[in-house]
């Protein structure tokens, strides 16, 4: 019999595989049980409009840009931030409490190894930066990359509510989302009565690069009740000629600047200088907006991003000084910083208004 058994090759093979099979069955059974015990997931829509499943609650996050960091602070989720983008030092005063968190590289090219080392539940990044290689690099570690923008006015409230759900701060997310909606509604309701909207030239950070559809600057202009000179453009940040701007005769001009940080400014000198240089461009004295002192320069802190709504209020007030006479952008900014960000209001964010009417 023993000989018979030892000669029976199939038995040996079965003897080798059977324990393995049993272990596999046990593991999968346990796995299902474990999954049943803890893993709960929700389906959300990311910046691409894709429906993706996220395991909740998310207990640790690596943050790859200032926009999401600002939103997380608004939701009171500072403790969840395990790692941050390296350029945070440029906003050091604004994000002081995060300066000691581990840095994981650039907003557009993060270091997957450092992120893997921190082992967060998720990484939150912009729609297109860093590239999709980050997902490939982090998926073996079970780290999910979530693409949410938080800089487009049309989607920011929805994205905030989504983030609130993911991190178990649903109520805070709803409150903040509603706050955005309320501020924008106030403007939209008043704009309903406006028949002829003024023509606005919106210049991005580089000279003569305008903000067309698809850019945050365009959205801000439209929400503020302006008719963007570039509203039919197919390119978000197209270069235009001075001649074209002059020939279109905009009623109001807005320019974004990104030097230093409005949060740390004590006066308007910088913004005023940028405005004056812009108005002094060759032949710009022929433009209606320049003649009427309606050139305004805004800080990058309120230009797109989570505080774009404050930029919109400033813009609406500068476009329609009478219609929004009672609206105080500084007060709204103060409310946002003190109630949501929980930091004291400070800084200067816009050039002096030479056309009179508003701050």
């Amino acid at each position: 019999m023993p000989r018979l058994l030892s000669n029976f090759k199939g038995f040996n093979t079965a003897g080798f595989f059977l324990p393995g099979l049993i272990i596999l069955i046990i593991i999968s059974a346990r796995g299902t049980a474990w999954a049943g015990e803890v893993a709960q997931s929700i389906v959300i829509e990311d910046a691409f409009g894709r429906e993706i499943s996220v395991n909740i609650p998310v207990q640790s996050i690596v943050v790859l840009n200032s926009d999401v960091l600002e939103v997380l602070r608004s939701l009171g989720a500072q403790d969840l931030v395990k790692g941050i983008y390296s350029e945070i030092t440029k906003d050091g005063a604004f994000f002081q409490e995060f300066l000691d968190r581990p840095r994981v590289g650039s907003w557009k090219n993060a270091n997957a190894e450092l992120i893997a080392d921190l082992n967060p539940c998720i990484v939150i990044a912009y729609e297109n930066n860093p590239g999709t290689e980050l997902e490939k690099q982090l998926s073996p570690f079970g780290i999910q990359v979530l693409r949410l923008n938080f800089y487009k006015l049309g989607t920011i409230a929805k994205e905030i509510i989504t983030l609130g759900k993911i991190i178990g701060r649903e109520q805070q997310g709803e409150t903040l989302g509603a706050w955005y909606g309320k501020k924008l509604d106030v403007i939209q309701k008043r704009l309903d009565s406006v028949k002829e909207k003024p023509l606005v030239y919106v210049e991005s950070y580089s000279a003569f690069h305008t903000a067309g559809p698809g850019s945050g600057g365009h959205d801000m202009c439209v929400y503020a009740g302006g008719r963007n000179l570039a509203d039919e453009f197919k390119v978000p940040y197209s270069e235009v000629t001075s001649e074209w701007v002059i020939s279109k005769q905009p009623d109001v001009i807005f320019k974004a600047t990104a030097w230093g940080n409005g949060f740390e400014r004590n006066d308007r000198i910088f913004f005023n200088n940028v405005r004056d240089e812009m108005a002094a461009r060759p032949s710009w004295n022929l433009i209606q907006a320049v003649k009427n002192n309606r050139v305004h320069v805004l800080d990058s802190g309120i230009w797109t991003g989570p505080r774009a709504v404050i930029g919109v209020v400033y813009m609406a007030k500068r476009i329609y000084p009478r219609l929004f006479n009672d609206l105080d952008p500084e007060q709204i900014h103060k409310e946002f910083l003190e109630s949501f960000q929980r930091i004291p209001y400070q800084g200067v964010y816009i050039s002096e208004n030479l056309s009179g009417g508003s701050k």
Binding site: A207, V235, T241, W244, I246
Partner: protein, 349 residues
């Protein structure tokens, strides 16, 4: 009998050279005419609805807005485009002649990359997004720095073409890497500004910029003509040129320094428009031959034609968008260059 033969041969050669000279002069006039036509076209087209007649009248009389647009916006842009074309075309021809290399251009010697690095530093650390003179200064300083390094190494190791080209290529990679490193650290606004600077643009051209650029580009021109004959001798090799009395290292170092200054004057104000410095001298060589006496002015004219055509097309063919000049110069220059290259039956270099 033999003396007679030689005299006849010499006479033949002289006649041939005279004919060649005459042909080249005629071609130069033709290209000058072509350039003038493009200038007039560039003056008459734009985003505003000013008529052609009003555009031309604006040059001599005050016809309101048309005058302001022509004098303040179109004319400075045209002059700047011409200066850039002249600067890059001439410097490219000089680099190719003194380094005896068809691939030599301001960019082979790292001058474009160093200017780019200077601009990146200015954008990131000196408010270059708003203060355009910070960018100009940064680009200028680093252009000169890279030229000094090339000249320094050449002085130490002997001013041979190989030393200069290899040093230039090394610097090109160094400054490109440094620019990439800083871009890596940049915020999205800074990266935005840097990308646009590298595309090149003439939107900020004004008379002040023209004066500064003009000084750097036009002052070295007479020296380039003065050395044209020496360049001809140097193309036959350093030894031959030396035997014929040319101070090869001196001419090479001095002309490289001047050509670098011209390149700097061309790209500091507008961003990297690299391709012109390489292709304009080649187009000129295919049409005019290799005599630097004609090759240098021809490269300047062709550079002017290319840059002005590219800018005029770039600002009018997709109104109201402006297609960056760095992109359009390649769009129009490469097909033309390839056409000439295929059509040319003889080896021209």
């Amino acid at each position: 009998m033999n003396t007679d033969c030689l005299t006849i041969k010499n006479q033949d050669m002289k006649n041939q050279y005279k004919a060649l000279k005459y042909r080249s002069l005629v071609l130069l006039v033709v290209f000058f005419g072509l350039l003038s036509v493009i200038v007039v076209i560039a003056l008459c087209v734009g985003a505003s609805s000013i008529s052609v007649t009003d555009s031309i009248l604006a040059l001599i009389e005050d016809n309101g807005m048309a005058r302001s647009i022509v004098w303040n916006l179109r004319l400075p842009r045209i002059i700047m485009a011409l200066l850039i074309g002249i600067g890059l075309g001439t410097s490219g021809a000089v680099f190719q002649a003194v380094l005896r290399n068809p691939l030599a251009s301001p960019f082979t010697l790292g001058i474009g990359s160093s200017a780019g690095f200077g601009a990146v530093i200015a954008i990131m650390f000196f408010n270059g997004l708003v203060n355009e003179y910070a960018v100009v200064t940064g680009a200028f300083i680093f252009t000169l720095l890279s030229s000094f390094i090339i000249l320094g190494v050449s002085r130490y190791k002997g001013a041979t073409a190989e030393t200069m080209i290899l040093t230039g290529i090394a610097l090109m990679f160094l400054f490109s890497s440094l620019s990439s490193f800083l871009q890596y650290l940049g915020t999205k606004e800074e990266v935005h500004g840097i990308v646009f600077w590298f595309f090149g643009s003439l939107s900020k051209a004004g008379y002040r910029e023209i004066v500064m650029s003009g000084i750097m580009i036009l002052i070295p021109m007479p020296f380039m003509f003065r050395f044209a004959f020496d360049f001809n001798l140097m193309t036959a090799g350093d030894e031959s040129a030396r035997a014929l009395g040319v101070n090869v290292p001196g001419v090479r170092m001095f002309s490289i320094a001047l050509a670098s200054l011209m390149t700097s004057g061309a790209i500091c104000f507008t961003g990297v428009i690299g391709f012109i410095g390489l292709v304009a001298p080649h187009i000129a060589r295919m049409i005019f031959g290799s005599d630097n006496l004609f090759l240098i002015p021809a490269s300047a004219l062709i550079g002017g034609v290319l840059v002005l055509s590219a800018d005029t097309l770039g600002r009018t063919m997709w109104l109201p968008h402006v297609i960056p000049i760095g992109i359009v110069t390649s769009f129009i220059g490469v097909p033309f260059f390839l056409y000439l290259l295929i059509k040319k039956t003889k080896e021209y270099w």
